[in-house]
């Protein structure tokens, strides 16, 4: 299944990170806004190649998802060379840390540096044995991350970060200088990934939610949670307190 996704450029935005993100979701969901959305698009992003919905089965149908993806991908003659692929990046470190926690992956923070360093890291990021195992974020201003992290040894470098359970704090597992070679970066990332897998307890979602509530964890996004399932432009479901969302048109 994961191999099938390599034939695509996979984009995942956070539904509540900005008003712009909401507009994007609405444009792909026929004006509706829901907290999860899925669809396949043409390479120029302008045409939907599947129905859109909340889950792959809504867009790809009730068959073999990998086969459906293969069928779509085969219609395009595409460049498979990842040497010049861009480095993934989040709009904020705060979001990057939270997603790394939710995804249960090590976060690679490129603090400082220039395009040369970015390209160097990007080539490692897309290489076999590294691809699909990390989250990445690029920050030029150290004040965006220094308060959230411990064990850092400087305000620039390539930091390999383990986010905490609720993705609001993190610990630096290793830190490389910006001058590190690709081989050094690759080795450090492989080691960090192995250590992470060995020392981290996999999340149990029910338990996570219970512990979060017990600890009083709160998380505010720039846009308040809500859904517009009937696509009339107004948020009609805010969730919580046992509310049931209205059924929207598909």
């Amino acid at each position: 299944m994961i191999e099938a996704t390599r034939q695509f450029v996979c984009i995942r935005i956070d539904s509540y990170e900005s008003e712009e993100a909401q507009k994007i979701v609405r444009s792909y969901l026929n004006g509706r806004f829901e907290n999860t959305a899925f669809c396949i698009l043409s390479p120029d992003g302008k045409r939907r190649l599947t129905r859109s919905g909340r889950a792959p089965a809504h867009g790809l149908g009730r068959g073999d998802v990998a086969r459906s993806l293969d069928k779509i991908a085969k219609k395009y003659r595409s460049e498979s060379d990842t040497k010049n692929a861009g480095l993934p990046d989040f709009n904020s470190f705060r979001l990057a840390l939270n997603v790394a926690s939710a995804e249960e992956r090590v976060l690679v923070l490129l603090a400082g540096g220039n395009e040369v360093v970015r390209k160097k890291l990007s080539e490692v990021a897309w290489s076999p044995n590294i691809i699909g195992r990390f989250e990445y974020d690029v920050e030029s201003d150290p004040t965006t991350w220094t308060d959230a992290l411990t064990k850092e040894t400087g305000k620039t470098g390539i930091l390999l970060v383990k986010a905490d359970q609720f993705g609001q704090k993190g610990e630096v597992m290793a830190q490389l200088p910006l001058s590190a070679s690709q081989q050094e970066i690759y080795t450090a990332m492989r080691q960090a990934n192995a250590n992470f897998a060995k020392t981290t307890e996999k999340k149990n979602y029910a338990q996570h939610m219970r512990e979060g509530r017990r600890s009083g964890v709160t998380w505010k996004m720039p846009v308040e949670y809500g859904e517009d399932r009937d696509g009339d432009g107004k948020i009609d479901f805010r969730g919580g307190h046992g509310e049931r969302p209205p059924r929207g048109r598909r």
Binding site: V9, I11, S15, L41, S78, I131, A206, R244
Partner: protein, 99 residues
């Protein structure tokens, strides 16, 4: 062992990296729907309280995501690859660290 429908939702909700599954969503069983106060199934799958762990091992290779639309579009233009697009909330009921 988890039931296939629950496994699908584990794959889906437990981290969109593990979003691909072979069974379509089926929702909670009738007695659970009744407990919730109605037979009407909510869209999108079960609540996290109904799920357990991600079936993917930690450190395993998953989907390689671009978190920003503009970066992904630039890459899709460069490679002529179609786009697999998702939007998710990286929190549940105000609790972070989970999709």
């Amino acid at each position: 062992m988890k039931k296939p429908s629950l496994l699908f939702f584990s794959l889906w909700m437990a981290g969109s990296t593990a979003l691909m599954a072979e069974r379509p969503p089926q929702g909670p069983p009738p007695e659970e729907r009744e407990r919730r106060g109605g037979g009407e199934r909510r869209g999108g799958g079960p609540r996290p309280e109904e799920l357990a762990e991600s079936p993917m091992d930690l450190g395993e290779s998953g989907v390689a995501w671009y978190p920003r639309l503009e970066d992904g579009l630039a890459e899709a233009k460069r490679t002529n690859k179609p786009i697999l697009f998702m939007a998710v909330a990286s929190q549940c009921s105000g609790i972070s660290g989970v999709f």
